[in-house]
């Protein structure tokens, strides 16, 4: 017994090594990118791309993100409400469930390929901001649906029963009790969805971006510039030396990491401390 106890410590230490590797990789990537911080000057952020700045890319990325969230948010939340509150458990729901999982696992390049064939060509939107919104929304959708489902399931059942007992209809209950109680979780899931698509390159590669535009897009039917797309084209197609694009990489990294960490932190906070348990 003593022998196996001391072996145990050895085993557990060995088991910890991979975890340490993961964390080391994360901190290494962060530190490598942060070495590029010297190349960024604040005026770079507000200078037009025509003068070597990043302004249009940053605003373009924001346009893409907000638009995609504007599409995937409502659709995802409605879908999740239907699935948790209205749907009868049966074959159709199982199929929908599988479809959501499959959509979540779809490679972004395929979403981009489909976006090109369907949104750009079939619907005639062309290479445009609108095509980018719809394509990215398709990637966000499963994340929003799953997150919202989880948030709704955490709302205590007696909240809903109380509302129903007071004579509220099903929809009134959902609207004024379930959704408000689940709101923090819903917002978190949208944030996590935005983190997923903020740095996405493959999906917008042929649906929505161009290398340089003259100023910001004036309508949703014009192409945009985006950080990820620019970084990709500059390294892969134009073969610019990596240190020249360090600034773009760093800003993209900080953008995505801040979205993701706020989302993750909020999720942990609300899982642990649900307001109604106080």
């Amino acid at each position: 017994m003593m022998r196996s106890r001391s072996w145990e410590k050895v085993f557990f230490t060995i088991l910890g090594a991979p975890a340490a590797i993961c964390l080391t990789v994360f901190f290494w990537i962060t530190s490598v990118l942060l070495t590029g911080i010297g190349t960024i000057r604040l005026n770079l952020l507000t200078t037009s791309a025509l003068q070597g700045g990043l302004f249009e890319m940053i605003v373009g990325t924001a346009y893409l993100l907000l638009g995609a969230a504007g599409v995937a948010g409502p659709v995802g939340v409605f879908a999740a409400i239907h699935l948790t509150e209205y749907a009868r458990h049966g074959r159709l729901i199982r199929v929908i469930d599988q479809a959501i999982n499959n959509l979540a696992g779809m490679p972004s390049i395929l979403i981009g390929l489909f976006g090109y064939a369907f949104f750009c060509r079939q619907l005639g939107l062309g290479i445009s901001l609108a095509s980018g919104w719809l394509t990215l929304a398709l990637m966000m959708l499963p994340i929003v649906i799953r997150g919202t489902e989880e948030a709704i399931k955490m709302v205590p059942y007696n909240f809903k029963e109380a509302a129903l007992a007071l004579g509220a209809s099903k929809w009134e209950t959902v609207k004024s009790v379930t959704v408000p109680s689940a709101a923090p979780g819903i917002i978190t899931s949208i944030l996590l969805g935005m983190a997923r698509v903020a740095g996405e390159t493959a999906a917008i590669l042929f649906t929505s971006c161009v290398l340089v535009t003259r100023g910001l897009p004036k309508s949703p039917f014009e192409p945009v510039m985006a950080l990820a797309f620019n970084l990709f084209v500059k390294i892969v197609a134009l073969g610019e030396s990596p240190d020249k694009v360090f600034g773009i990489a760093l800003i993209l990294f900080l953008l995505v990491i801040s979205f993701a960490s706020v989302g993750i932190a909020l999720r942990i906070y609300y899982r642990r401390k649900q307001p109604w348990l106080r």
């Binding site: 557990f12 991979p18 975890a19 994360f26 209205y86 809903k160 990709f232």
Partner: protein, 303 residues
């Protein structure tokens, strides 16, 4: 559950409300779009499939200049890169999941899990950037190659990108092993390690397998990071297991060539054909993962 329907007497009446129809449509959207994806990718890929027939999949030559599109080198490239990546990522990922769920004290568990999740949220373009800038030169000097953009580099980058998926999915199933099982084993005098090895892992087996499948699906669909470091040469390496030669993957071919391929040409169609192959692989792998994971849960309930 059906009883929450009964709780609302208004249920039947309210079903015709437009909002509820709208919600139903939204719920259907994921099926509809998955179906449309299959439809449109197939439609655009038809021309190449008809022109080459089975040779589209088993043809060994992928050459844009001579308009020959056989996807075998690309399928091989994808599978090879992913196989090596999983060989690295699965042991590390599963061990990390075990460590995080079973060994780490509760207070820092969330922190470590969040950091691993952050690792997953780093965009693939950033991984590719780091791979080109730091990993590829290291690999080149380590093996004395003229260029470090080879299959091995791509596999290592992919492994790092796949680990978070494996950790989170297998971690979930490890955490879901009923406490009673572990307590029973410990009460019988098993050590913590014996409990982990003989009770926890066997019970979570199907979830761990599902996490590997999901990792496979994630890895084979990865595009940007892979194409930046894989070298992109559409030839099966000689010998076939030579991981120090450049490869071209399905995803890389689509991303690299789509920009130049004019609509309606054979090349354009062939790229959608690649998309179809990838779509089918991902659909099969993800569905299998789903079935395995669900089976595991059912099996536990039966106990």
């Amino acid at each position: 559950m059906s009883h929450n329907k009964c709780a609302s007497p208004n249920f039947l009446k309210s079903f015709d409300k437009p909002v509820e129809k709208l919600m139903f449509l939204c719920a259907l959207s994921s099926i509809v779009f998955l179906f449309l994806m299959l439809l449109f990718i197939t439609r655009e890929g038809m021309q190449a499939l008809f022109t080459f027939g089975a040779d589209f999949i088993i043809g060994p030559v992928w050459e844009t200049n001579s308009n020959l599109y056989g996807a075998l080198p690309l399928i091989y490239g994808s599978l090879m890169v992913v196989a090596v990546a999983l060989a690295v990522a699965v042991p590390i990922g599963v061990a990390t999941a075990m460590f995080v769920e079973e060994v780490l004290p509760f207070s820092i568990r969330d922190l470590v899990k969040s950091l691993i999740e952050l690792l997953a949220s780093i965009p693939s373009i950033i991984y590719g950037f780091i791979g080109v800038l730091f990993l590829a030169p290291q690999i080149a000097s380590l093996f004395g190659l003229s260029s470090g953009t080879v299959a091995l580099t791509a596999s290592l980058v992919l492994a790092i990108m796949t680990i978070p998926t494996i950790v989170s999915v297998s971690g979930e199933t490890i955490a879901a092993v009923p406490k009673e099982y572990k307590e029973a084993a410990l009460a019988l005098g098993a050590t913590k390690w014996q409990t982990l090895k003989n009770v926890v892992v066997p019970t979570a087996k199907s979830g761990i397998l599902a996490s590997v499948m999901l990792g496979f699906g994630r890895a084979i669909g990865e595009t940007v990071a892979v194409l930046m470091v894989a070298g992109n040469v559409a030839v099966i390496p000689t010998p076939p297991w030579n991981i120090l030669s450049p490869v071209y993957t399905l995803t890389a071919a689509i991303a690299m060539q789509m920009g130049e391929a004019a609509v309606g040409t054979l090349e354009y169609s062939a790229l959608f054909g690649l998309g179809l192959i990838l779509f089918i692989i991902t659909l099969v792998v993800n569905s299998l993962a789903d079935i395995i994971a669900k089976k595991g849960i059912k099996g536990e309930k039966g106990l």
